[in-house]
């Protein structure tokens, strides 16, 4: 037999390292994308705002002192002069003006007397690197305008309710709505999800019914979230309206009873996250060694006693971690809640499960779809708030997990 090996190894190795570099580049590109996304959002959350006024701020200066330098009594006096008597009385009745902070008083003056409007906004990078262009633009287009550097992400964003003006609008209602919805979702989905997982992992025999349940859960996990929204709309909002609007409890809020409530949203999200919670909990239970179960049973415990006293505690960290991850997914869900009927404009805080609602992602969606540029900045700031909340949740999951595993190592 004739033949030789000519392995051309140099070329093959060169090719291997070329591809290695390509694989690395692809990976770095996705990391870069994440960096770009974060950068672009931070970039839009800060920057110059060009403010224009119907009434020049200088015209309401008192004894040469501008609004920015006035103390509280002077601000109240300015309001008394600038507003109609009825408006002034209404504001005073809502919360005595004399006891309000100067900041709050200035905000009222800006929106109600001066009629402050943002004409244009710039991003952080523009504000830093093209500062002179921004000022030149102001001098050219709006000589009367005032340029202010604004952090769109500020304490007012979290404490203010929604408003028609981007400058005053806040996330208060949306944040409360998000937290309330998520809490209720958790209360509904967690027990059902863990119970279902316990059934499937500990009790279920390998028969057609259980196989079908399993298959069904996996399929549900792949159903697009918007379909759950349609289900929620048809079932919770419409068919179960008397329940979800609170009508049967005589708890309906405000004007017309409607099924578009926090309860409907939570039920919808609960259906959405259930498969994820079940699958995660199943994996957690599967990780518990069989010897633990046998040990419990051998001591004369019933099956449920064994599960409750040994199997569930042993898998609690994984179950909780999986649940927190599922919940953080629900927290970011937008489409199903739009379909279920989140309110587009809501100035009142939700007070019960039967309140109309909006959530952080919905607020972001609505602000992003507005044509005015300043609402995009507002949306960016809201995104930062949402991401901070999500990170807190995930960090909690990690801490929980560590604490559980530490306890297990120490005690058992």
């Amino acid at each position: 037999m004739n033949g030789v090996y000519d392995d051309r190894l140099a070329g093959r190795k060169a090719k291997a390292s070329r591809y290695g570099v390509a694989f690395l580049c692809a990976t770095l590109l996705s990391v870069l994308f994440l960096a770009m996304l974060v950068f672009s959002i931070v970039d839009q959350s800060f920057g110059y705002v060009l403010l224009t006024y119907e009434v020049p701020p200088a015209s309401i200066a008192r004894d040469g002192v501008g609004v920015d330098a006035m103390d509280a009594p002077a601000l109240v006096a300015t309001l008394r002069e600038g507003l109609t008597r009825r408006r002034f009385a209404a504001l005073d009745e809502a919360e005595p003006l004399a006891s309000r902070k100067p900041e709050a008083l200035r905000a009222i003056i800006a929106s109600e007397i001066l009629k402050e409007e943002p004409a244009k906004t710039w991003t952080l990078s523009q504000s830093v690197f093209a500062r002179s262009d921004i000022f030149a633009f102001r001098d050219r287009e709006f000589p009367e305008g005032v340029l202010r550097f604004r952090a769109w992400l500020n304490p007012k964003l979290l404490s203010n309710p929604q408003s028609a003006s981007a400058l005053d609008s806040g996330l208060r209602g949306a944040a409360i709505g998000s937290l309330a919805t998520i809490l209720l979702t958790l209360l509904i989905a967690f027990p059902i999800g863990v119970a279902a997982a316990v059934w499937l992992e500990e009790y279920a025999a390998d028969n057609a019914l259980n196989r079908f349940i399993r298959l069904n859960i996996y399929n549900l996990a792949g159903v697009p979230s918007i379909i759950y929204g349609m289900l929620g709309l048809a079932v919770f909002v419409r068919a179960l309206e008397p329940l979800t609007s609170g009508a049967i409890f005589r708890a309906a809020q405000g004007e017309a009873a409607s099924g578009r409530t926090i309860l409907s949203a939570s039920l919808t999200l609960a259906l959405l996250v259930l498969p994820v919670i079940i699958i995660n909990a199943q994996e957690a239970l599967r990780a518990v060694p069989g010897t633990l179960r046998q040990a419990g049973l051998a001591l004369g415990a019933t099956k449920w006693q064994t599960i409750w006293a040994h199997v569930l505690p042993a898998s609690a960290d994984r179950i909780l971690t999986g649940t927190v991850l599922a919940i953080s997914r629900a927290l970011g869900e937008t489409a199903p809640l739009v379909v279920v009927g989140a309110s587009t404009f809501l100035t009142l805080d939700p007070v019960s499960p039967f309140s109309r609602f909006t959530t952080l992602p919905i607020q972001i969606y609505q602000w992003t779809s507005r044509p005015q540029g300043e609402f995009k900045n507002l949306a960016a700031a809201a995104i930062l708030a949402l991401l901070a909340l999500l990170m807190t949740l995930n960090a909690t999951a990690i801490i929980l997990r560590n604490r559980f595993s530490a306890r297990r190592r120490a005690g058992t």
């Binding site: 290695g20 990976t27 996304l37 059934w199 009790y203 259930l274 049973l297 995009k376």
Partner: protein, 316 residues
Amino acid sequence: MRTRLGPPAPSPARGSAQHGGLERRARPGEAAIKAFLLSCAAFSIFTTAGIVFILGKESLNFFSQVSLVDFLTGAAWQPAIGHFGILPLASATFVTSLIAMAVALPFGLMVAVYLSEYAPWGLQQFLKPTLEILAGIPTVVYGYFALTTVTPALRGIIGAGRLEVYNMLSAGLVMGVLILPLIASMCEDALSAVPRSLREAAYAMGATKLEVTAQVVVPAAFSGLAAAFILGLSRAVGETMIVALAAGSGPNLTLNPLKSAETMTGHIVRISGGDISYNSIDYSSLFAIAGTLFLLTMGLNILSRAIVGRRREVYE
């Protein structure tokens, strides 16, 4: 997300005895708990049944007024004048998903290969959480990014005259990045599932890393990779917020990614977000779209699982 079915946990046989204090005892508490657990598990069946029933019922209502043929072949979706052809919506879903897959498929696979075969351990520990973060960002944030950053950047490159403010290209690209971590992690699972002995066999024969990866590991993991791609496609078809924000709001029958068009999901969100009367054909038309979407994604998911199931038979 790992989706694995396993055999039920082994339950040690319970000793059964007849006499001497060992009689079988009724335990109503245990039975009640068992019944509760089963009903919770069976709850998922009601969810599915609910979805099928609701979509079916409203779709039937819709199809009593619009013929299935018109629905499937009509080139215009204009509820105001009674045109209910799904093609414009379906074409937008098709174009955006195609662009998304064109991004997510090669990049996802490359990232997976890098993570599973090339990356040193330390870098792996950094990259995997990064991808998880990328996967955990809400889709509305991606939508925002597509609209406010990617579209202006693309308009700078392609030309503001050629690329519309709302366009399928930008939405599709960002959707690709959204799906990338999903595909990458599923592909990585598939690649890692290839036994190490197979890699060692190849290395021991004087293969380079690329040859081991491309000629041994990837073919061995092929069905897992295919399943990942199909699941990714299903996710793209059902993705909503990115297209709702960045692709445009108005059905438009075009395959040109530079144009604006509304996908099936985008349409449902826009119409249901507004005030819609419950007994109109507009309302039931949304369910007909959702039904189509449901069948499409369900079909893809089942296909994906069938492929994975076949892979399991290869080893062991």
